[in-house]
């Protein structure tokens, strides 16, 4: 199916990897500024995967996560997710609202203010990612207001597969992980960006960067 439109070469994958690189680097900087902490970014992973494999990449279909979702419109269309393990989401909210959460027993995720703070962080990070992507490709990219959900990976991420599923049973995922530098696993913040362009938008990306 993908092959009918174009063959994905290493050069194409390199371009998509660079997009993940530039986007997530800006998002990591934004988060670092916001928290006054050092945030590391992992090398992006670009893969053509089945839908079930996509859930595995995001932590497993039944794993409960915090997911921030934006629909992307403009020259480039697609879906974007920022997915955090629940522990990370809780930890992030505590750092943002430290005054309100001195009581360790209080669960930030059960609190309206905590949830809206996390949604706003998701908005800032995704905005940084996408504006960097827009600068790089010179494409107009307008994200929708983000929505947030706390649920199983399969239930959340499948939302981003609907458009792609009209074309085939596979999807190209641009996956970048950011992580708080040098912290122990149980207290660190980690999250993953998943950029899932709609299939017709790959042509647009490649053309904008002259690698069609």
């Amino acid at each position: 199916m993908m092959d009918e439109q174009y063959r994905l070469t290493d050069l194409h994958l390199d371009v998509l990897e660079e997009i993940g690189n530039i986007g997530a680097a800006h998002a990591a900087t934004a988060l670092s500024t916001l928290l006054a902490r050092k945030i590391d970014m992992h090398v992006p992973n670009v893969e053509l995967v089945s839908f079930d494999e996509m859930f595995e990449v995001a932590g497993g279909a039944e794993t409960v996560v915090a997911g921030i979702y934006l629909r992307i419109e403009g020259d480039l269309t697609g879906n974007m997710f920022f997915v955090l393990p629940l522990d990370s989401a809780n930890h992030l909210i505590r750092l943002l609202l430290s005054e309100s959460y001195k009581d360790e027993k209080c669960d930030p995720l059960s609190n309206e203010l905590g949830i809206s703070a996390l949604q706003e962080v998701g908005n800032i990070l995704a905005g940084s990612y996408l504006s960097a992507l827009s600068d790089f490709t010179k494409l107009k990219i307008t994200p929708t207001v983000p929505s947030i959900g706390f649920d199983m990976v399969g239930a959340i991420v499948s939302y981003g597969l609907i458009e792609a599923s009209r074309y085939s049973d596979e999807i190209i995922v641009i996956n970048t992980q950011i992580e708080e530098a040098g912290e122990a696993r149980d207290t660190s913040i980690e999250g993953r960006f998943f950029l899932l362009p709609d299939p017709p938008s790959y042509q647009t990306i490649f053309r904008s960067l002259g690698v069609l």
Partner: protein, 165 residues
Amino acid sequence: MDVFIKEVVRVGIADMNVVGPGGTIRTIGLGSCVGVVLYDEMKRIAGLLHVMLPNSELAKSTDFNKAKFANTGVPALIDALEAKGARTSALRAKIAGGAQMFQLGSNESFRIGHRNIEAVKEELKRCRIPLIAEDTGGTNGRTIEFDTETSILHVRTVNKGNQEL
């Protein structure tokens, strides 16, 4: 001592499968997708379909996976159940899923859960299969497992507890 190991058949997204007497069949992480269970209670044979989209007219190619769409998936599952020994006239249905996980979305994904539910029900009606129970809509994800021993559909959610249909 007899040791019974129950057969558990797993079904992925846009996929379907069938299970014989004594086994269970499950699919995990349903959001806007709908899980459709068809079963022959007396023969203890069941099939499960994990529908992603309402209608195959949405497909951009003619060579598509039937299990992905409600209108092609239900008849395909009936065929698979018949091949396994179930009687089409005895088939009953239980369905779950079709949530709206996010408040905002594209034209295509907006209310896709609701459209999936409607399309599944319409196809069941067309195939003359009675719908016995459903847990559909809402805003939460679901994991479902059907037990051929009891004909009970177990529904697990993260935020809304569990129930048996």
